[in-house]
């Protein structure tokens, strides 16, 4: 587990360095994610080695958002000042974006014939 964690942190570290050195629009951890996919393609054994630790962390991905979430409370005065407008903008745009994005994905999947029967919900 320590070896796996060290490897994961190393990928993040290299990602952070590349993100800053090359002035990429992506944050370091996302660059690290891309590098790790590439590394797993080149060496599938790496994926087997990291899988248990990665699954453990991803199972509780929600936990890691809690401290930043509490930060919302610290911005309460600004949020309340524009309360109704910001709340409706966030709720309305999120509903529209999820619906439009999912329907566009589904429509193009049917159109290009890339329907994946194994990826269907409630499949018979």
């Amino acid at each position: 587990m320590i070896v796996a964690l060290s490897l994961i942190l190393a990928f993040q570290l290299v990602g952070e360095i590349l993100s800053r050195a090359l002035d990429l629009p992506l944050p370091g951890p996302v660059v690290g994610l891309c590098l790790l996919v590439l590394a797993c393609v080149l060496r599938p054994a790496l994926a087997c080695r990291l899988r248990p630790t990665a699954q453990g962390l991803l199972a509780h991905l929600s936990l890691f958002f809690v401290p930043a979430g509490v930060g919302v409370v610290a911005h309460w005065p600004v949020l309340r000042q524009h309360g109704a407008g910001l709340a409706l903008a966030i709720m309305g745009s999120t509903v529209l974006a999820i619906a439009a994005g999912a329907l566009a994905f589904q429509a193009v999947a049917r159109w290009t014939g890339s329907v994946d029967p194994e990826a269907l919900k409630d499949r018979p």
Binding site: V73, A97, A102, Q106, A119
Partner: protein, 238 residues
């Protein structure tokens, strides 16, 4: 016996108290989430955040003190993001086959998220820095903050709006896509990743591994696309 006030003043200085409180709040949130049969409205992040906010208010603790302890949990966001590589790698053949649907979902989801948010906010008379802070709210927090700085927004306000978007998206995605009868896990995951970044992705992983993998991709791609188009869109809203 030592005066309880002394014990409190000792605990209030170190990270142990708020680190423990953060984990305990999440464990309670997760237990309630399971107790409701994994209903999306019982979002564990939301429950934990409300519990901790009440606790901070009751003990008169400010956010900076709280974050001294909570930063260890916050730090794990980075390594956890790197770990999204594994479900992505495991789903790689499936991802290759879904190139065109992903492109469509990304373009439509990303543009609709930004333009509709700005239109609604402008209808309520919101303008200037607050409007610019709202534009990148669907992208993952570090990218959103970077974009907000570049287009004249307030980074801390953006961080709060990003979090609220994620929590709302994670709560609304399941009933919304059930109502629209979208049965493709790839489409469901991808759309919530584009619109509600990592918190949406966390929700997707709670439901289905394929949805989680596609959600992680949606989050990453939207970070890039929003960084590119946000300056134009906000400039257009002037």
């Amino acid at each position: 016996m030592t005066d309880p006030a002394l014990i409190w003043s000792y605990l209030a200085q170190g990270p142990l108290l708020w680190l423990t409180a953060t984990l305990a709040a999440y464990v309670i949130g997760d237990a309630l989430f399971r107790a409701t049969g994994r209903q999306s409205w019982a979002n564990p992040v939301l429950i934990a955040v409300i519990g901790l906010a009440v606790l901070l208010g009751a003990t008169g603790t400010d956010y900076a003190t709280y974050f001294e302890g909570a930063q260890f949990v916050h730090f794990m966001l980075g390594p956890a993001t790197v770990c999204l590589a594994l479900p992505l790698y495991d789903n790689l053949p499936r991802v290759r086959r879904a190139f065109w649907p992903m492109l469509a979902g990304l373009a439509v989801g990303s543009v609709v998220a930004m333009v509709s948010a700005l239109l609604i906010a402008r209808a309520f008379g919101i303008s200037g820095p607050v409007l610019a802070s709202l534009a990148p709210k669907s992208t993952t927090a570090p990218v959103a903050i970077g974009i907000a700085e570049r287009i004249g927004g307030q980074p801390t306000l953006t961080a709060a709006l990003v979090l609220l978007t994620g929590i709302f998206g994670a709560i609304v995605v399941t009933p919304l896509l059930n109502a629209l009868q979208v049965r493709d896990w790839r489409a469901r995951g991808f759309a919530v990743g584009v619109a509600a970044h990592g918190i949406g992705t966390a929700r997707a992983f709670q439901v289905n591994e394929t949805a989680g993998a596609f959600s992680g991709i949606g989050m990453g791609l939207n970070a890039v696309l929003t960084a590119v188009i946000a300056p134009w869109v906000v400039g257009w809203f002037g």
